[in-house]
């Protein structure tokens, strides 16, 4: 077995003597005998480092990662290139191993990173205040629902069906707890049905939620959606909170939520320099208008001065938090995703002011190209014709079941995207790592897969015909 302890036999003897005990069993005298586990835990035996490495490597080898195939999977997390300097910085002991910065005098590095991160999120969203991260995207949206509950106490939450299904489910779970009803508004032509949206919002509505781009890749008319709930106007306690989930990578070119009447913007931070990691850890971001500052969940770093008047940073507005307010806290969140948020702000600094626009333009062009290329395949149609930036959805011909098509493509080393069984469709994501050549390859492989299904149908048809 491996061990990370340093207690030698001599140490143990001396330490027990100092404590005044004869053996280590006596340390546990308070535990009733009946509760002592009278046997070793039933676990595999401990192993040397090299064997654990070999085992974990073997498990890794049984996954098909973005390193092993040309993948167009998206739907909330995306295979963006993570620059090497992020690995370097995230693996530095000084960022990797500290606890939450409870002692600001020896945590100025981490606190300043939080401050810089908050600024970046604020800039991205064009909203004035942002916290230092929450867990991830869907729970960020649900937490925003709880914020609405704290703000106006109304029991009805209206959510666009274009919101990520995981986020809707998470909102339902949270709402089940804090006591609210979740009402879904369907899409029309790929975007939130504005008439139904308007109709769903009533006096009991505490918050409205949409996503931009939405789950099907469509750019929503954010201003209209927000305006329907009075977003950004009037007394925030007398109307629903307008909550939107944004894909941060689009915010170099997409009109920011803060300019569209959104009150609270949340989202999944993974596209910003975080690994896929089979779904986590990444980070959720959470930004809002000034009015919601003191209702926000999570840590917030603020600027201040030290005893000598030098600039410094501290965790601030802690009276919102559970270690001070306990049951009156705005949230129970404590450990969040500081290290991942570091990755996020380093990524944004690396992209830079020009880069985030250039990247957005590149994705816009390639995504359009890919949609055209796929829809040129016989029987493949766009699921909607809304503008798309980095992801789009298509439907396959009914005789080509999406699951079979995906399997066929995967066998060719191409992951064509996320299956949307309810549409017999595919959600196809583009990143800067997917070149035109990759897109062309996808189109070719997909065309073959669809054609093969057509062939099967004919054969089956022919065969059926014979009998």
């Amino acid at each position: 077995m491996s061990t990370y302890t340093a207690i030698t036999d001599a140490d143990r003897e001396a330490m027990l003597a100092a404590i005044g005990l004869a053996d280590t069993d006596e340390l546990f005298a308070a535990i009733p005998a009946a509760l002592r586990l009278g046997r070793p835990l039933d676990l595999p035996p401990g192993q040397p480092e090299q064997d654990v490495y070999a085992h974990l490597r073997e498990l890794a080898a049984r996954n098909v990662s973005a390193e092993d195939e040309i993948t167009f999977l998206g739907g909330g997390m995306y295979d963006h290139y993570v620059p090497a300097l992020i690995d370097m910085l995230m693996s530095r002991s000084e960022f990797l191993t500290p606890y939450t910065p409870y002692q600001p005098e020896v945590s100025q590095g981490g606190l300043q990173v939080m401050f810089e991160y908050q600024t970046a999120i604020s800039e991205l969203t064009a909203l004035p205040v942002a916290n230092a991260s929450v867990y991830e995207g869907p729970s960020a949206l649900a937490s925003a629902g709880y914020l609405a509950k704290l703000v106006n106490g109304r029991p009805r939450l209206v959510v666009s069906a274009g919101v990520h299904p995981h986020a809707i489910e998470t909102l339902r779970t949270y709402a089940q707890g804090f006591g609210a009803e979740v009402v879904e508004v369907a899409l029309r032509d790929g975007a939130t049905d504005l008439d139904a949206w308007r109709a769903a919002i009533d006096d009991e509505t505490g918050a409205v939620f949409f996503a931009n781009p939405n789950f099907l890749g469509a750019v929503e008319d954010a201003e209209a959606l927000a305006a329907a709930a009075g977003g950004g106007t009037g007394d925030e306690r007398s109307r629903p909170v307008v909550i939107a989930s944004y894909d941060p990578i689009t915010l170099g070119i997409l009109k920011p939520p803060g300019e569209c009447g959104v009150d609270v913007c949340v989202g999944e931070g993974q596209p910003l320099g975080n690994r896929l990691d089979f779904g986590g850890p990444s980070f959720g971001f959470f930004a809002a208008t000034e009015a919601y500052l003191r209702r926000m969940p999570g840590r917030i770093a603020g600027e201040t001065v030290d005893a000598d008047g030098r600039r410094g940073f501290v965790l601030t507005l802690q009276t919102r938090e559970q270690h001070i307010r306990r049951e009156k806290a705005t949230s129970n969140i404590c450990t969040a995703q500081a290290l991942n948020a570091l990755g996020g702000v380093v990524y944004l600094a690396w992209l830079g002011r020009r880069g985030i626009v250039e990247l957005g333009e590149l994705l816009l062009q390639r995504t359009h190209y890919a949609r055209e290329a796929l829809c040129a395949i016989d029987g493949v149609e766009p699921l909607h014709r809304r503008p798309v930036i980095r992801e789009f959805a298509v439907t396959l011909p009914e005789w080509a079941p999406v699951d079979d098509v995906v399997e066929r493509c995967a066998a060719e080393g191409v992951n064509p995207g996320l299956a949307l069984p309810e549409h017999n469709g595919l959600l196809v994501a583009i990143t800067e790592q997917r070149s035109r050549a990759d897109i062309d390859r996808l189109a070719a492989v997909l065309a073959d897969a669809v054609a093969e299904q057509a062939g099967k149908r004919e054969m089956t048809g022919a065969s059926n015909g014979r009998h």
């Binding site: 070793p40 996954n63 500290p98 590095g109 954010a222 779904g279 005893a307 049951e327 250039e358 390639r366």
Partner: protein, 484 residues
Amino acid sequence: ETIETIYEKGAPGRRAFVAPELDVPQVDGLLPDELRRAEGPRLPELSEPEIVRHYVRLSKRNFDLDSGFYPLGSCTMKHNPRLHERVAALPGHARLHPFQHPKRAQGALELMWNLERALGEISGLPHVSLQPSAGSHGELAGVLLAKAYHADRGETRTKVLTPDTAHGTNPATVTMAGLEVVKVGTNADGGVDLDDLRAKAGEDVACLMLTNPNTLGVFDANIEEIARIVHDVGAVLYYDGANLNAIMGITRPGDMGFDIVHFNLHKSFTQPHGGGGPGSGPIAVSERMEPYLMNPRIVRDDDGSFDLRDVSEKSIGRLRGFQGNYGCFVRSYAYIRSLGAEGLKDASVSAVLNANYLLARLGDVAEHLPLAYGRLCMHEFVLSGAPMKRELGIKTLDLAKRLLDHGYHPPTVYFPLLVDEALLIEPTETETRETLDGFADAIKTILAEAAEDPEIARTAPHTTPVRRLDEAGAAKRPVIRQPM
């Protein structure tokens, strides 16, 4: 000196990122003007070397576990093995898309399955969901589970009992779950006041949330009786696993009678804390709670393959996107495989031994810093700085700040709330005796110094990049982003 923020550095036109070439035909008007951003976000403009140097220099303004003793009570700041970073970074784990088809993610699902089994065994509660993102997220899961359990039985229970020693997250969670907190008192031994518990344990109680050992570092020997009282009124017993590092392989929450436990993988199971996350807060539950566990679950099919599926209609649903913080699972699984049963038990025994040794070493200053409860402790212990404050004129905060000048991270201070001027000290099992001796000596030195001149501690720290910061001012006039 201070370090300028990244927004105060660089110059217009500098860059690190180079966009890949536009390799498709340029098409105009793909995004209509009314949906377009007029002016891009004012992100920094720096070259790569500037970015690297900025963040490396910032990193040097952090105290970290790899550089010094970090006895932050209740946080289990144990060594973070670098093997874990290596295995988590393997592309088969790190670049695995969460929507990858389960068929092509069998290694990841097997890892999660194995981790679930291991956590089930360690806790004595067989059914595990790895989904929650942190301890408090696990708490929320647990309380929602308790609520769902009662609802499914047609009962509406509105109250949750929490001892006054509880972590602040417990009451906050209860409120988020739409329930009401009822505090239970602490007896003279530092355990739950049984009379108070009996008085408050009624048919309207959904759940008792307990940590054992609790935040006083005391193992509540009445746990069997507590469980009986709670179960007798039909309520559920929830175990806050933040203190699990004291008891691995020694006793199990499931055997104590708990129905639900959450784990902090970033405490007992070595996920590095990252300056405030990421964490991971799996929960394990008993048979009767199992139908309510979050969706999706990992299932093993008859052919031995693994799948991710929604298995119960009674599930409370999802608590987040995807499957949880898989990267943390990889690390904690590697830890459990490295140590095995024997190693995990040794870790807990050593953690408790180290804590008691440090407590014994600090016996010399018990006059100023007495142990709040009991004579021995589990993996951590609480001293009261009240006599020190009274007699030497320095507060717990001053002692903490002065420890910074000695190169130590201070313990948790002013928690638990029921101890005056509390210092909650958790050395963990990965520290050496020499380190504990050095820390005890530093405290003695500071107290002796305070007896001579308390002003030194009152104005500490003196050797850090900044001195004490104006926290009140920060909260009064919040500046939480760079003005531009």
